[in-house]
């Protein structure tokens, strides 16, 4: 048994326990600061281990947990998201008297995501999904004095439970059709046999697409997304938007591109249709939103559509594109949410678009970060969002899914309607002179997250070559038998 391969997960579990313990210690400073420190330390260590494990595939627990390049890259992505979340919520009111639990839940949710990424077994995959979900249900409802926070938590839980049930049922059929829960064995059996037109597999694919589509916020499984994003505490929303999405797409890739390439004819068109619908509907629905978090939720839906292009395309290029875009999406979304967070602390209803009237002129740096994030999400070159979209469209074209690339282009056109609206509000309007708009000193952690992410949005594009090499390595590991 290879323990090394499972160290990231073990570290994260340990860190979460540590954070819990720190959280209940009686000394105020300790209970307020140490859990977050423990979390940061845990994330750092797990990240370090993940990087150290970068290399050929290692397995732990009888092949049920992989430590391959793919899993390690996804680990790093979700760990970065977790780190950003911890930083963003450094002084978040909602977490003040539950530091320990808050940090632990973030860490545990991240652990679930890492399990999804490294899953070598359907059971582990499902458990990972559940671990991340259940933790998030709680995190959403963390600001229990806000009715909307609770509403979002309960909505998420109920719909999420149904979504999980779909996934579970699909996994059950996959098991039923192949007789194994091990991904490696499933792949081998499908490769070796003439099983591919087995109806159970069709059922399995349909249900799994629904289940994972739910986690990834793909249309029409997305409807919970705006409500939950709006109601949840903003750092949690940022975490959900980035890390959950990464985990969901890790699962998509692991299952479809990695395990079921022989079923490609089945799932390619289905996922393609979902992707097309997601891009169009997500973007159209975002047009009228006036709440930024809600708008970003729909934007996240639409972005899931772009990511699904890569899933549908499959293969090396598809996986590589999805991974790159996940990284890009992480930084642009975190950047946007960080700015929203700043505004939320300054004014009531700081997540409304109107709160940003003239914001760019008043706060050029943060306005600039927000603008870069919006432009990148819209796919303006030479930002990382563009490089990602380019890769995704390329993968579609290579897989003879040109129609999907065209739908993506159409979706991008529509998306300009709201991304640019944000830029317009930021720069094209005069700042509101009303006295109620107070300007706070931006907490160092939030500010640094915003700026770092903003820089990364550009940096990822400039150093696309480097990042792509990493993604290529991960994609190769994913496709390796």
């Amino acid at each position: 048994m290879n323990v090394a391969a499972s160290t990231p997960i073990i570290i994260m579990s340990g860190a979460s326990v540590l954070a819990l313990v720190f959280g209940v210690l009686p000394w105020r400073t300790v209970s307020r600061v140490w859990p977050s420190l423990a979390a940061v330390a845990g994330i750092g260590a797990a990240g370090g281990m993940s990087i150290a494990l970068w290399g050929d595939r290692q397995t732990a627990y009888a092949g049920n947990l992989y430590a391959d390049r793919f899993a390690m890259l996804v680990n790093v992505i979700v760990l970065l998201a977790a780190l950003a979340t911890i930083a963003l919520s450094w002084r978040e009111p909602g977490a003040v008297d539950r530091r320990g639990e808050y940090a632990a839940l973030i860490l545990l949710s991240t652990t679930g995501m890492m399990m999804v990424a490294g899953a070598g077994n359907l059971i582990v995959l499902f458990l990972g999904v559940e671990l991340l979900s259940v933790a998030l249900y709680v995190l959403c409802a963390m600001e229990a004095w806000r009715e909307r926070s609770l509403e979002s938590g309960l909505k998420y839980l109920i719909v999420g439970a149904v979504g999980s049930a779909f996934l579970l049922y699909g996994l059950a059929f996959l098991y039923g059709a192949t007789g194994s829960t091990s991904l490696a064995e499933i792949g081998e059996r499908l490769f070796a046999s003439s099983l591919t037109d087995e109806p159970f597999l069709a059922v399995a694919v349909a249900l799994i697409v629904a289940g994972l589509g739910f986690k990834a916020s793909a249309v029409p499984f997305h409807m919970w997304t705006p409500d939950v994003y709006e109601g949840a505490p903003t750092p949690v929303t940022a975490f959900m938007a980035t890390a959950t999405k990464a985990a969901a797409f890790a699962a998509f890739l692991r299952l479809f591109a990695g395990t079921l390439p022989d079923l490609l004819p089945d799932w390619q068109v289905a996922i393609g249709v979902i992707a097309g619908a997601t891009m169009i509907i997500g973007n159209v629905a975002a047009l009228l939103q006036t709440n930024l978090k809600r708008m970003l939720a729909y934007s996240g839906v639409a972005q899931a559509g772009y990511l699904l292009i890569g899933v549908a395309a499959g293969g090396l290029r598809g996986a590589e594109a999805v991974l790159y875009y996940l990284i890009a999406y992480l930084v642009m979304t975190v950047a946007a949410f960080a700015v929203v967070l700043v505004r939320e602390r300054e004014v009531a209803d700081g997540d409304e678009l109107t709160a940003f009237t003239g914001f760019g002129r008043a706060r050029p740096l943060l306005g600039g970060v927000m603008t870069v994030a919006m432009l990148s999400l819209a796919g303006f070159p030479p930002l990382s969002g563009f490089v990602g979209k380019f890769l995704l469209f390329s993968s579609a074209v290579e897989a003879d899914l040109v129609w999907l690339a065209i739908l993506g282009a159409v979706g991008s056109m529509i998306s300009l309607g709201y991304y640019l609206r944000v830029a317009t509000v930021l720069w094209l309007t005069e700042p509101d002179a009303a006295g109620s708009r107070k300007v706070l000193r931006v907490p160092a952690s939030v500010g640094s997250v915003a700026v770092t992410s903003g820089v990364a949005v550009i940096g990822l594009a400039v150093s696309a070559s480097l990042v792509l090499d990493v993604c290529r390595g991960a994609a190769e590991a994913l496709l390796a038998p």
Partner: protein, 102 residues
């Protein structure tokens, strides 16, 4: 011919799943929704155990056990949320949880 073919077990499983699904779609009481979700998970368990027997391996059983734990966890969190949400409300109705929409 003495046994029951696996397909019948699967049929029961599917029927249970559908009942659970319909329950989630037509009920508004969050407690009822959680109950219906239990039906969904049980349906999956029936299928898992059935396939386990069909293939003659234990994986399905393990999966089913895991699902039970997951169900327990969801119920705990779910009930906690229900209690928290409706501590101050008169009726339990998820339709009233629609302050966020559009």
């Amino acid at each position: 011919m003495t046994g029951v073919p696996p397909s019948l077990y699967l049929g029961v499983s599917v029927a249970l799943f559908l009942l659970g699904l319909i329950g989630v779609m037509i009920r508004r009481n969050p407690l009822m929704l959680l109950l219906a979700v239990e039906l969904l998970l049980n349906a999956a368990n029936v299928a898992l155990v059935g396939f386990s027997r069909y293939w003659g391996n234990t994986d399905g059983h393990i999966f089913a056990l895991v699902v039970m734990v997951v169900a327990a966890a969801e119920v705990v969190v779910g009930l906690g949320l229900v209690v928290a949400v409706f501590r101050n409300r008169l009726r339990l109705d998820v339709d009233e949880m629609s302050t966020m929409k559009g």
